[in-house]
């Protein structure tokens, strides 16, 4: 997905996802959960369209229901007893609601991650962490390159072996399996030899010498700065709400939700703004695009 929020600097993307994921795991208050869940769903649909709707209906909805049911079976705290199970354990209203809340939280996190996977592509991650953990980032990027390369090489080896009648398409099952292992063995030897060659080539080109820079596609411009400042303000408002106890909720022994006050409404707005930031950006871009298209 090469548009909208994903075109911001990777650092902006990362800060956004860290913020929504942490807050999503943190706040148990139903209003906050609803905001996060709705935002995550909307953003996933903006990013992935119909595939996201399918994913949410086929996997997330049943997951939500099953998880909401599991909790009361194991958790018997709470004062409002609804009925007793056969083994004598009570089912309480609080534990059902708690199960629902934690299921909702889990599903929200999964959907946020599906957005994360669409936006934070591996190149962005490697760019961001290349400075902090250069060696490991290099390993990550090499592995990502090696996997398709090995699949390709495996095909070539397999074709070569076929010409001498020793690949996976000839003979009985045992023979095929044996040939398969031979192909894998050839593959491994090739991979290791090839790797040493790559390493020597890297060394002769000066890998690890001081003063070398790495190429990057990204630049941190005013738009990124603006977005980051807006995010920090929203996060600060949400956190101040947390400190004041607006975002919390008590489940046991009895349910107690923080009351709605003018300040808590401000916190709600800030949290919605934060979660919906990419969607808002998407809509604004759409309006802008429409207003600058020629009407001639």
């Amino acid at each position: 997905m090469n548009s909208g929020f994903a075109t911001f600097h990777p650092f902006v993307n990362l800060v956004y996802f860290i913020a929504v994921l942490l807050f999503g795991m943190w706040f148990m208050h139903p209003d906050f959960q609803a905001i996060a869940l709705v935002s995550a769903i909307v953003y996933a649909i903006v990013l992935r369209g119909r595939a996201a709707v399918k994913f949410q209906l086929i996997y997330m909805l049943p997951l939500l229901l099953v998880m909401a049911l599991i909790n009361p079976a194991f958790n018997h705290a709470g004062v409002t007893i609804l009925f007793y199970l056969k083994n004598g354990n009570p089912i309480t209203l609080e534990s059902i609601q708690y199960g629902l809340a934690s299921a909702c939280m889990f599903v929200t996190v999964i959907i946020w991650f599906s957005c994360y996977n669409a936006v934070m592509t591996s190149d962005k991650f490697i760019y961001l962490f290349g400075k902090i953990i250069p060696a490991l980032s290099l390993i990550f990027s090499m592995v990502l390159r090696f996997v398709p390369r090995y699949q390709n090489q495996l095909k070539r080896i397999s074709f070569a072996q076929r010409s001498i009648g020793q690949d996976m398409s000839q003979g009985n099952l045992l023979y095929r399996a044996k040939n398969g292992l031979t192909i894998l063995s050839i593959m491994t030897t090739w991979a290791l030899e090839n790797a040493i060659e790559t390493a020597d080539s890297m060394k002769s080109r000066g890998y690890g010498l001081p003063g070398r820079t790495s190429y990057s596609l990204y630049r941190f411009d005013n738009r990124d700065k603006g977005c980051l400042i807006i995010m920090f303000i929203l996060v600060a408002v949400v956190l101040s709400g947390q400190v004041k106890g607006e975002n919390t909720m008590r489940f046991f022994p009895s349910i107690k939700v923080a009351e709605v006050t003018p300040f808590s409404i401000l916190v709600y707005i800030a949290y919605s703004g934060l979660c919906m930031l990419p969607v808002i950006h998407y809509i604004l871009e759409g309006i802008k695009w429409r207003s600058i298209t020629s009407r001639m």
Binding site: L22, M25, W26, M28, M67, I70, N71, F74, N75, A77, Y98, G99, S102, M105, F106, V109, I110, F113, S114, Y116, N117, S122, I133, P134, A135, L136, L138, I139, F140, M142, V143, L144, F146, V147, Y150, Q151, L181, S185, T188, T189, A191, L192, E193, A195, I196, T198, A199, D200, M202, K203, Y207, G208
Partner: protein, 245 residues
Amino acid sequence: MQEHQIDNRNGWRNKRTLISAILILLVIPATIMFGVFALDDRKYYFISLLIILYTMLPFTLVFERRKPQARELIVIAVLTAIAVAGRAAFFMIPQFKPVVAIVIIAGVSFGPEAGFLVGATTGFVSNFFFGQGPWTPWQMFCFGIIGFLAGILFRRGWLKTSKLALCTFGGLATFFIYGGIINIGSLLMFTPVLSRDALIATYASGFWFDMVHAIATVIFLYFLSRPMIEKLDRIKAKYGLIESK
């Protein structure tokens, strides 16, 4: 020269032990206290995630600080890529994956640090293909720690490279270490309240998955361990890759 290098490596290992000790003795209890008092003992997943990340930190720091050579990097990358490709190749059979087998072979051939790095990196990078999620750090930690243990046990001479020894270790490690930890992880993901019943239920429902995973590890080790270790030893001998003794 050789002597000096070995000294240096010992130094790094001591540093890792020191960092680990600080983390385990100070930072982890502090985090748990923070969870119990500041977060009202409710955010188990969050706290456990932090602990998992702390345990991986010393490896990362030490590895980065000692500025590894290109050859070292690339051997780790190759083994990781093989493990990732192996996980991808068996995507249609749930839990039947060669990852643990390859991680153990890496640990035995290239030492505990390489074992840990191959394991953790495989967990991380393969999820670029399968999707990152709250499970990623747990998988990274489980794969990593098995590779680390394989390396340590082999160094100490407690783990031999015979098929029987490797398969036994692989099966037990997959079932008890990987299964044991990953089930706690998934329980914490699902229900924020930890209870003994729920834990037992999670282990019971995960039993067959862990069993299949353990059997897969045994089978892959049975077929792969000897040829793989031979190949890796040959590469080490041929190109003089220094073994971190």
